[in-house]
Every structure is written in C-alpha cells, then in structure tokens.
C-alpha cells in the first residue's frame, strides 16, 4: 500500500485510495476477529513462504493481537478520514500518505509477528516512519523533536536487539512459539529481558524515560500526533506485555514487575501535574498520554500476581485510550488550525465558535478521567478490581488519584472554553481552516459504546485466556 502511494502523484487520488484501503483493512481485521472467535481463541500461525519455524519466519495471531488489529484499523481509518481534510498543502499531503501507510504496515507487523528479530525490524520501521512524519511540517521545532525522537528510538531498539541477541546466543531460536517452550529463568535470560525492557520502556515513554515524548508529540501535525500517541506507543507496549507475560515468563520477577508498576504510578502523578501546568493544548494532551501510559505499566505487578482479570483490563485500557486519545488530538488539532494557536489561556469562550471540537474533546476527556459510561470507566474499574483481588491495594491510591488529577487538568480547559471571553484576548476563528471532524466524532462515540458494551472485548480475551496457558503468577 505504501509503495503504491509513493508512485501516485495526485494527492486527491491518494486521499480516496487511502480511505478505501483503510475501509478494506478494517473489514479484513473484523474478518480476522470473527475467525479468531470461531477458532475459540487458539493461537493461529501462518508460515511465510513455506519455510517452517527455526529457519523461516512465521506470523502468529492470538486473541490479544486480533483485538489490537481491530483497534489499529478502526483508529487509523478515523485518522485517515481526518487527514484527508487536514492537509491543505499538496506537498505535505504527498509526504504524509506513504509514510502513514508505512507506519500502519509496521504496526500490523508488530501485532502479527511471530519472530523476535522480525519484531525488531518492524520496530525500526515504525520508528523511522514516525520520525519522518514528525519532520513533515519542516519547522525547526519539529525537526529538532524528530531528531531527538529518532536517536532515542534507535537507542531503544538497539537495547531491545541486544536482548534478542543474548536470547539467540543462549537458546539458538527466535521463533516465539518455540522460545516459549525452551526459555528458562537463568541469569542470562533475565539480563536479556532487562535489556529488552529498558529499550522498550524508553520507546513507550514511561517516566523517567519520557523526556522525548512531549516535544515529539506536540510539534507534529495533529493526525500524526494522534497516530503516534494512540497507536505507536501501544505497539511497543504490546511487545513488552506479551514478552513479559507469555514468552519470557520464567525470567520475570515480582520485584521487576513492581519497579515497573512504581514507575507507572509516578508517571501518572508527574504526567498529570505537568499537564496541569502547561499552557499549550497539544502539550497538555501529550502529557496526558504520559500519565495514561503510567496506568498501563501499573498493570505489570497486578498481571504478575493475578493474570486472569488484569489481561482483560490491559486490552480494554489500550482500546479505550487509543480511541479517546486519537479523538482528543484531532479535536485539539482542529482548534489549533481554526484559531491559529493552541494556547490554553486564550481559549476562553471558544465553545461558542467551535462547539463540535470542544464536545469531542469533552467526551474523550470523560473517557480519560474514567467517568461512566465511557470505556475509560470500565478499564479503570477492571484495574481496580484486579488490584483488590491480587491484594495490592496500594496501587488503588494512584488509580483514584490519577483520575482526580486528570479531571482537574481537563476541566481547566473546558472551564475556560465555556467562560465568556474578555475583549482583549478573544480568539479569531478562521472557518476556512475547518477540518473534517466526523471521524473524531465517531471515535468519541466508540469510547462510549465500548463503555456500554464491555462484554465484546472481554469475551474475546476470555476466549484467548481459556486456550492460553499462563505460567506466571503463584
């Protein structure tokens, strides 16, 4: 798909082709999940080119990755639709489409890959595509952020690759299914897991390794920020999560999981405080991403002790956050484009001019705060539940506190948006810069729908759990 985009010169053709392709991809992902359910959630693998596992490369699919695929295709369809109207500049649009499809391909590769080295290649591909996407706007800020993101990303994936090399050195296999059977809790595999973990934490921007994220995510064009924040971080988290809890499980320790959990808790607090004090809307959303990523890592110690419900919580949280965050970035992008700035202090009274953007922002915010009936509420409820069941009540403090903090920074924006503007700082709105928000609206509605129909996702996860054997947890 990406190659096709490179070849086509006309942007309008590109635009429609991309939308059609995204729809086809979504249908395909839905087909995959139906297939998954019909297989009762067992892991399906596909051998590429007829070479079997130790020599060839295989793709594998389980319940978790099929949910991730549906999420990926839904969100990317929405972002595709949005970017079709966002990029007014011919040149930027021409650069955007091939790169965004490259990113999409890499993410699919990550969710489907059955081989550790292949994961590395996909990780790099994703990183390179992401960096080029940030640099599209050509402003000096964006280029600096892209450079920093690239160097950090390369460093992170090299640490990951070093861990993979250690594993290959000691076990001689890279295929995940084979590896699951042979891996042992030796020092060398713990070391390998340590390197992989640090590398991926760096790429997923867990506190204190998050320093590159705010610049990178806030200086990119809005559809790109949405892609990076909603999907790319989930890709690296997915790798880390599945390595910890289904492949390299013998090498994991409760202490390690608790350290990650504690970092996650700190990320929630720190990210929220930064989001509260920042004065730019896109930076606020970016800091909120750091805080939300913290929740995901909070799941590590819970998952270690009590995998059954926590697994569902993780999948649920990822989906809810991806939809909400993508919708939020799109709304913020629209506000920025139409008013020409994204300074929060100058946003008073903006609701009268951009009612739909603020509405979407508010709905996505409700999900991030974890208020019912949104998807975020169910996700937090599940985390809450598994924290209680695994007797680790202290994490609940951070879950509740984080919810309160996120409501405080989101209400700060909404509050300003609804107050009457003072004359001196009234914002001019440029209606010609309007972008199609219908897809962001659909995503916002989806966050509510999955909140009301939590069983859809949880049932599939349960199917997967029934067939998978969890080695972790005493």
């Amino acid at each position: 798909m990406s190659i096709v985009c490179f070849l086509i010169k006309s942007t309008s053709v590109l635009k429609w082709l991309s939308i059609v392709a995204a729809i086809v991809q979504l249908l395909f992902a839905v087909f995959i999940i139906v297939f998954m359910v019909s297989q009762d959630g067992t892991t399906v693998s596909y051998v590429i080119g007829g070479w079997s596992a130790p020599l060839g490369i295989s793709l594998s699919l389980n319940a978790f990755s099929s949910i991730m695929l549906v999420m990926l295709t839904t969100v990317s369809l929405a972002i595709t639709w949005y970017s079709a109207t966002y990029f007014k500049d011919e040149k930027e649009a021409k650069q955007f489409w091939p790169l965004s499809w490259l990113l999409n391909t890499a993410l699919c590769g990550i969710f489907l890959s059955g081989d550790l080295f292949n994961l590395y290649v996909m990780l790099e591909l994703m990183g390179l595509a992401g960096v080029s996407l940030i640099a599209i706007s050509k402003s000096q800020n964006a280029i600096k952020a892209a450079y920093q993101y690239l160097v950090i990303g390369l460093f992170g994936s090299l640490l990951f690759l070093f861990g993979v090399a250690l594993i290959y050195r000691s076990y001689g296999v890279l295929d995940m299914t084979i590896l699951t059977d042979v891996v042992e809790g030796t020092l060398i595999s713990q070391l390998a897991l340590g390197f992989i973990t640090v590398g991926l934490l760096l790429k997923t921007a867990l506190y204190p390794l998050h320093f590159w994220l705010p610049d990178a995510h806030s200086s990119a064009p809005a559809p790109v920020s949405a892609l990076l924040s909603a999907l790319v971080l989930k890709g690296t988290f997915y790798i880390l999560f599945s390595l910890w809890f289904s492949i390299l499980t013998p090498a994991t320790t409760f202490v390690g999981a608790s350290i990650i959990g504690a970092l996650g808790a700190m990320a929630i607090i720190w990210g929220s405080i930064k989001a509260f004090t920042t004065d730019r809307l896109k930076l606020l959303v970016a800091y909120s991403t750091i805080a939300q990523i913290g929740y995901l890592f909070l799941l590590f110690p819970l998952m270690y002790k009590y995998p059954t419900t926590t697994f569902g919580a993780a999948a649920y949280f990822i989906v809810a956050h991806a939809c909400a965050k993508a919708a939020m970035f799109m709304a913020a992008g629209n506000i920025q484009k139409m008013s020409g700035h994204d300074e929060i202090n100058r946003m008073s009274g903006i609701v009268a001019k951009l009612p739909i953007s603020i509405f979407i922002f508010a709905i996505a915010g409700v999900s991030l705060m974890g208020l019912p009936p949104s998807g975020g509420f169910i996700a937090k409820w599940l985390i809450f539940n598994s924290a209680l069941q695994s007797n680790q009540w202290w994490w609940i403090i951070f879950i509740v506190g984080g919810g309160l903090l996120s409501s405080s920074y989101l209400f700060r924006v909404l509050n300003l948006a609804f107050t009457a503007p003072k004359l001196d700082n009234e914002t001019e709105v440029d209606p010609t810069a309007a972008t199609g928000l219908s897809s962001a609206m659909i995503l916002a509605v989806i966050t509510i729908i999955i909140g009301l129909n939590a069983m859809w996702i949880l049932n599939i996860i349960d199917l997967g759990l029934a067939s998978a054997t969890f080695k972790g947890g005493e």
């Binding site: 080295f117 450079y147 160097v151 460093f155 050195r169």
Partner: protein, 101 residues
C-alpha cells in the same frame, strides 16, 4: 574458545558504544555510538555461528544483513535531520513564528 572470545569482544564493543552514547553530547558522537552498539550486536549474532565453524548458518547471515540495512537507513535519516538543524538555525524558526502570529 573462539566462540567465547567473539562473544566477549562483542559485549565489550556494545558496552563501548553504550557508554559513548550516554556520555557524549555531539550529534555525530551519538550517531557513531549508535553504530558501534549496532556492530557489537551483530558480532554477538555472528558469535553464535562460531559454535559450529564448519556449518554455514543462514539465519545469522540474514539477521546481520537485515540489521545492517536498518542501521544504514537509521543513520542516514539521523544525519539528514541533524544537517537540517545545523544549516538554518534561525531563519526557519522566525518564519514559523511569523506564520503563527
């Protein structure tokens, strides 16, 4: 014996790159350090093949080749971006400031 020697050298090379990456500040130092780290990792892959010197391990072949290609692409992009930062430090920033006001 040979395999162990290769492994130790590979780890040392990786460690050198790692330390350089963390300590040095310059753009080119960082990119070079990343490349040294990468080469250390490739050596580690290659050392696996040294276990059986007579057999040709096609997997490591493929891995290292792929790895080199990815490393080259990454380095090229990093240098390209770095060059864009150096060349026009102020003019573009001013332009983007002018646009937003």
């Amino acid at each position: 014996m040979q395999a162990e020697l290769y492994t130790i050298c590979a780890v040392i090379l990786f460690a050198l790159g790692l330390i350089a990456f963390l300590v040095r500040d310059g753009v080119f130092h960082k990119v070079l350090a990343l490349n040294v780290m990468g080469i250390g990792i490739f050596m580690l892959f290659l050392s696996t093949s040294a276990f059986y010197p007579m057999a040709i391990d096609s997997v490591t072949h493929a891995l290292v080749l792929t790895g080199i290609i990815v490393a080259v692409a990454g380095t090229a992009l990093a240098l390209n971006l770095a060059a864009q930062i150096k060349l026009e430090p102020l003019s573009k920033e001013q332009k983007s400031c002018d646009k937003s006001h």
